[in-house]
Amino acid sequence: MIKAILIFNNHGKPRLSKFYEHYTEDTEQQIIRETFHLVSKRDENICNFLEGGLLIGGSENKLIYRHYATLYFVFCVDSSESELGILDLIQVFVETLDKCFENVCELDLIFHMDKVHNILAEMVMGGMVLETNMSEIITQAEAHNKMEKSESEEQVSVGFLASALDRKQRRCIVSV
């Protein structure tokens, strides 16, 4: 089972956090911080697995992460998940985001937090992997987007504002 999914940037700022088990607010923040400390000090060319820190749960759990340009994607899973399987699941997730947002970048995750969560909900439900098929996930996500578009035309292109905000920060996180 997947216990938590965390995304934070190179400075440890959380960009998305989803816990499938209950922790108190404070513990959740501590987990994010601890995970960042554990993950950020690791070199690029060493393995993507890490035995869990103190908080997220002893020897049973492990952290599986991938580092893209400015973001860390960390999945905390228990022993019933396959390490390499999860590693590729992260890849699927990121590629899906990339397709949904067209060259996804850190800012997309911030401005469309709800959308990212909804995409995630199509992949992982209650800690269980629901769907690994990218086209299926995109179909589901787009059904929602269409609804949204038809509802509001007043939405100014977020991309424009975002790029005005900080051009340097807008680096693609995946190059597929």
Partner: protein, 1123 residues
């Protein structure tokens, strides 16, 4: 007219504002994020978020905020919560949004709810109705959202409310809904297994769903079920193998390919399931050899995900019953993993090796050089995994080298979690394989000083127990103790300020107990060293207590030193220390008392502790006689203080039915406080005795509800998460690597490694490996612990296991019972008036069962590709109108006529036969009577009825075979059915075979459902008996039910309605409370206590059977809902 214009004008600004407001708000999030990114310090961020939150607060409470704006606000609130700021005031608005908004608002609302709330949050109750509504919605997106939220956060108590709806979704035409429903049910299974017991058959259907996605999600459930009881699902092995074969053969749609590997995640799941099924089971394993071989062969492409499959394959091969050919291939795979330049694969290779060395230690030998390299690897995770592997191959010969490696690693390690984990292993190895005393003590010294206060308490405890209890030979023990004393004296003479508290405690205890063994050491020196510790500021007060007790044990004749010490401590601010100093002074002055209190060398087992302090009884009674106030436990004292001071504002606790008038004294206590006093003091017991025999004694009654709501039960609460005292500050990896071993010259490096390898892998060679395979054959541990009389944890573990196995076996027996012929059949039919042919019936029955079994296989194995249509007999529910004339009941056998019975319902019919059934309620069983009517004008021959139901036991049957059935006549056959474990609904299936013309057999399938309600019988008890029984039971379930308010006396009406529907026995009704009793046939009783609570009926159920209350509650709910 002017009025209207004026109104429009006044309304205009509002309209205008709300429109611009929307645009403003859409920008708010951007502004917020923009300003956050521009911030430089944490402090500024805090201020900004605080401002933001107060702005949100204002907006949510403003009545002008539209739903759409609310959506925007919710996203902002989520953002703030993610950053760790409390936005709990928005929770209720999130629920509102989910309740009232359109689809888009709902989505944000549900998302916010699943992010903000947890399963136990009280606000979730407000969501239940919304979820119910959305589950029934025709909009697919709404149904999806509801299912997602149900799988994410849903209160356990409310599962019965949505369960039927979620179950229905299993047959929804849309795959995505079915898939989500399966996962939601799995979630229910995880949090409340007994509530979904009855739908296991439906899981099977999900497994055979034509959509591979639905099938894949059902594997989650099966993996879990099989992990819990592999034996019950052996018959599905064939199906899983077939599925895997089809996946491998590329039978799935191309959509499921990932990097041109067909459905890799599905393969991984299946391999796991297979390895669980094949574990220690040769015949099952044989079924899967072929497919495993194919898997190993196919997974040869070089992509990450194929390695994932390979790894699972290898694990499976080593888990199931071994087959040499496969093992060889798997071993080669492991080799590839370990030697791979890709670091992730190396890691997995090491993991696989760790797993495999238990079976085959030689494999580690093949890769010894790689392992040595990994030991010096720059990656922390790899190093750790290598040590884990070494831990597994440790034996008496290589223990020193391996322990040294581990300690080296630990010295350079900063991660607390790793330290705790590994240091325990070092201690374990040291205890198991220590070559000599000095090494052992030295290693344990390292363990204590490295592990320090992170150590789990059982490490020092075990060590001290080992020293204290000793082994068989006293001489050896004393040597060990002596060595420990010597070693500790040396340690204490050095710098002690950096030593962890736990180490100091161990040392002081050992010195206190065994310093006398060492003749050459001056006692004064020992005392001086220990006293020195007391003066250090870094020593905690707990350690001081340890040191003082050690000092109490040492002195004989050193009174002057001790008196000085006691003097100096007598002014200490710590009362415990002061008291100890006092004791110390007394004991050192009175050697006789000392001898009595602290006997030297007394055996450990002989010490008995009088925990009830009975020796003080005399003192207490004297004091009481002299007019002293009786002792009151702290909570009671506090309670009385509160009562004295102020009005009691706490609600009266839930009172028990029997002593409505007399239990008020105990009832005055708030439930929270009562729950604290599990061992009630003599005082309150006295009170209840005074109150008379009919009073309920609340001692030992489990309190589930307290003043703060649900009181979590001890076993349910997870152990508290340790808060780290400081942030982890790890050193850089390179530094660590350098420190772990001084790098030798490059030329000699290789040689060194060879040497290391030979010392590490000694004892794993071909010759000796035979004896070392498996830990069980390892040389006996040097330090053998004496068995403890009360190993509570292990005994509870075994008892649990035994109960598990008993439940398995019972299941097995029912299975075999069902799949075999019915043993009761022959005697029963021999009594019957009909002629019969036992042989043919049995054969018939057997083949029938075989058919159903094969059917199950067929169902699951034809999932993919095949277009076979499964024909299922239509189920007949009670709600079908009884089309059969009720005069059939007149045909009941005379001995059954007087029993209460249900309406006769039609089961099935065809042109020649029609079947109907009737349920008769006998005390110890349910009689299912089946009426077989011949609708034709000709005689029907060889009629045989066959009934199957997995959940029930058939106690007896009569009349299920008859030679001929006359034209237009009806024959009766009946089954006595027993229910051992409650199930909500039990489905029955059966067939009737008959011949209209000779040699031409027709079969007519039928099915029906029985509910637990059919198996509930009234339990007639008196109020006193009820009270006694109530106290003897645990397993509380509590829930509020609907109260029928249409009549004058709602409680009585409701209870009567329940009584009619469920055959309960209403024991007593007093005021607004009522007590009701029933039982499951003649088995487990269930007591219900009802109380009118506003517009609801608070029901509290108890039963020795853990699952029974749930089911009864479910039926009560249904009965009241239908009323």
């Amino acid at each position: 007219m002017s009025d209207v214009v004026e109104k429009t004008l006044t309304a205009l600004p509002g309209l205008f504002e709300s429109q611009t407001g929307a645009a403003k708000i859409t920008n708010r999030l951007r502004q917020l994020i923009k300003s956050i990114t521009e911030l430089t310090s944490k402090h500024e961020e805090e201020n900004l978020i605080k401002r933001e939150l107060s702005a949100i607060k204002e907006q949510v409470s403003s009545p002008n905020t539209t739903m759409k704006q609310m959506r925007e606000i919710m996203v902002r609130a989520m953002y703030c919560e993610m950053l760790g700021y409390d936005a709990s005031f928005t929770y209720i608005h999130a629920i509102k949004l989910a309740q009232q908004g359109g689809v888009l608002e709902k989505r944000v609302g549900y998302l916010a709810v699943s992010l903000f709330l947890n399963e136990g949050h009280e606000l979730l109750l407000l969501l239940v109705n919304t979820v119910l509504k959305d589950l029934q919605s025709t909009n697919l997106i709404e149904v999806c959202m509801a299912l997602t939220v149900v799988a994410q956060v849903f209160p356990k108590d409310m599962i019965p409310a949505v369960l039927p709806l979620v179950e229905d979704k299993l047959s929804h035409p849309k795959e995505i809904i079915r898939r989500k429903a399966v996962l939601a049910l799995y979630k229910f299974y995880l949090i409340a297994p007994n509530q979904v017991q009855h739908i296991h058959a439906k899981f099977c259907k999900a497994l055979s769903d034509k959509d591979p996605g639905v099938m894949a999600s059902s594997l989650h459930i099966y993996l879990q079920l099989i992990r819990e009881s592999p034996d019950s699902y052996k018959d599905l092995t064939g199906s899983f193998v077939t599925i895997l074969k089809q996946v491998l053969g590329g039978k799935l749609p191309v959509d499921f390919n990932y990097h041109s590997v067909p459905a890799p995640w599905l393969q991984i799941q299946l391999l796991r399931i297979l390895s669980l099924l094949g574990k220690e089971d040769q015949s099952t394993s044989e079924l899967m050899y072929e497919v495993l071989d194919e898997s190993l062969r196919r997974a040869e492409m070089n992509h990450n995900i194929t390695y994932a499959i390979l790894y699972e394959c290898v694990k499976a091969v080593y888990t199931i019953h071994p087959k040499a050919e496969l093992l060889e291939k798997a071993a080669r795979c492991i080799g590839n993993f370990v030697l791979s330049p890709k670091i992730n694969l190396k890691y997995l290779g090491l993991k696989a090796l760790t797993y495999v060395v238990q079976h085959d230690a030689k494999l580690a030998l093949q890769h010894q050089m790689t392992i040595i390299e990994c030991l010096d690897h720059s990656d922390f995770t790899i190093k750790r995994e290598t040590l884990e592997l070494l831990f597994r191959i440790t034996n008496a010969q290589n223990v020193t080298v391996i322990v040294e490696k581990m300690l080296d690693f630990l010295r350079s390690c900063n991660d607390e979690h790793t330290i705790i984990h590994l240091i325990g292993k070092v201690a374990e190895l040291a205890e198991k394989f220590a070559p000599d005393n000095s090494w052992f003590i030295q290693t344990m010294n390292d363990v204590f000083s490295i592990g320090g206060d992170l150590l789990q308490q059982d490490v020092p405890n075990n060590f001290l127990r080992l020293l204290a209890e000793g082994s068989e030979s006293k001489e050896e023990d004393d040597q060990l103790r002596l060595y420990a004393v010597e070693s500790y004296l040396t340690v204490l003479k050095g710098h002690t300020s950096h030593l962890p508290q736990c180490f100091l405690q161990v040392m002081s205890w050992v010195l206190g107990e065994y310093a006398h063994l060492q003749e050459s050491v001056d006692r004064r020196e020992v005392i001086r060293l220990l006293t020195q510790l007391l003066d250090q500021r870094s020593v905690s007060s707990e350690t001081r207590v340890w040191i003082l007790s050690a000092l109490t044990k040492i002195p004989e004749g050193q009174t002057d030193l001790i008196l000085d010490l006691a003097e100096s401590l007598s002014s200490s601010q710590d009362t415990v220390l002061r008291q100890q100093a006092q004791e110390l002074r007394h004991l050192s002055q009175d050697s006789q008392l000392r001898e009595w209190v602290l006997p030297r060398g007394a055996p450990w087992d002989g010490i008995e502790v009088d925990s009830s302090l009975s020796f003080l009884d005399g003192f207490v009674s004297e004091a009481l006689a002299a007019g002293a106030a009786p002792y009151k436990p702290p909570h009671q004292r506090q309670e009385e203080l509160c009562e004295d001071r102020a009005l009691n504002l706490e609600p009266y606790s839930f009172s028990l039915p029997v002593s409505l008038s007399s239990c008020s004294i105990t009832d005055r206590q708030s439930p929270t406080l009562l729950s604290v006093s599990s061992g009630l003091s003599g005082n309150s017991a006295e009170l209840s005795q005074k109150a008379g025999s009919s009073t309920l004694i609340l001692e030992g009654v489990k309190r589930v509800w307290g003043k703060d709501g649900y009181l979590p039960q001890k076993e349910a609460t997870a152990p508290p998460v340790d808060e780290p005292s400081a942030a982890v500050q790890p050193a850089s990896q390179q530094e660590a690597a350098e420190r772990i071993e001084p790098r030798p010259e490059p030329s000699t490096q290789n040689q060194d490694k060879q040497q290391l390898a030979s010392s590490l892998f000694v004892g794993l060679g071909v010759g000796s490996s035979v004896s070392l395979l498996g830990k069980s054959e390892a040389p006996p541990p040097r330090f053998r612990k004496k068995p403890r009389p009360h190993e509570s944890s292990s005994s509870s573990g075994t008892s649990k296991r035994s109960s598990d196995s008993s439940s398995h076996s019972s299941r097995n027996t029912t299975d075999s019972f069902l799949y075999g012929s019915f043993p009761e059949e022959e005697p029963a039919t021999s009594i019957s008036t009909f002629d019969h042919t036992p042989k043919s019936t049995t054969a018939n029955g057997l083949s029938q069962n075989k058919d159903t079994k094969e059917d199950r296989h067929a169902n699951t194995s034809q999932i993919l590709g095949g277009d076979m249509v499964i024909v299922r007999p239509s189920t007949i529910q009670d709600k079908h109108p009884p089309s059969v004339s009720s005069d059939l009941t007149a045909l009941l056998p005379a001995d059954l006529k007087d029993l209460p019975h249900s309406d006769v319902i039609s089961l099935t019919s065809d042109p020649s036969l029609s079947l109907s059934s009737c349920r008769l309620f006998r005390d110890e069983a349910l009689l299912l009577v089946i009426f077989i009517s011949n609708c034709t004008e000709t005689v029907i021959k060889d009629v045989a009825v066959q009934l199957t139901c997995e959940e029930l036991k058939t106690a007896s049957l009569r009349g299920n075979v008859m030679d001929c059935l006359e034209a237009r006549s009806t024959s009766v056959c009946h089954y006595a059915l027993l229910m051992d474990d409650p199930h909500t609904n039990v489905s029955l299936t059966g067939t009737v075979s008959y011949q209209t013309q000779p040699g031409h057999t027709n079969t007519l399938p039928f099915s029906g459902t029985l509910s637990t309600a059919d198996f509930i019988r009234p339990l007639v008890v008196t109020t006193e008996e009820y009270g006694k029984l109530w106290l003897s039971l645990s397993h509380d379930v509590k829930q509020n039910l609907k109260l029928l308010t249409d009549a004058g006396d709602p409680l009585r009406t409701t209870l009567n309605a329940l009584k009619d529907a469920l055959q309960l026995h209403v024991v007593d009704i007093i005021g607004s409370e009522g007590i009701v009793a029933c039982r499951l046939l003649s088995g487990a009783p269930c007591l219900l206590h009802c109380r009118v609570n506003g517009a609801a009926l608070a029901m509290w159920l108890r039963s020795p059977h853990p699952a029974l209350p749930d089911f009864i509650l479910y039926h009560c709910q249904r009965a009241l809902a239908h009323h």
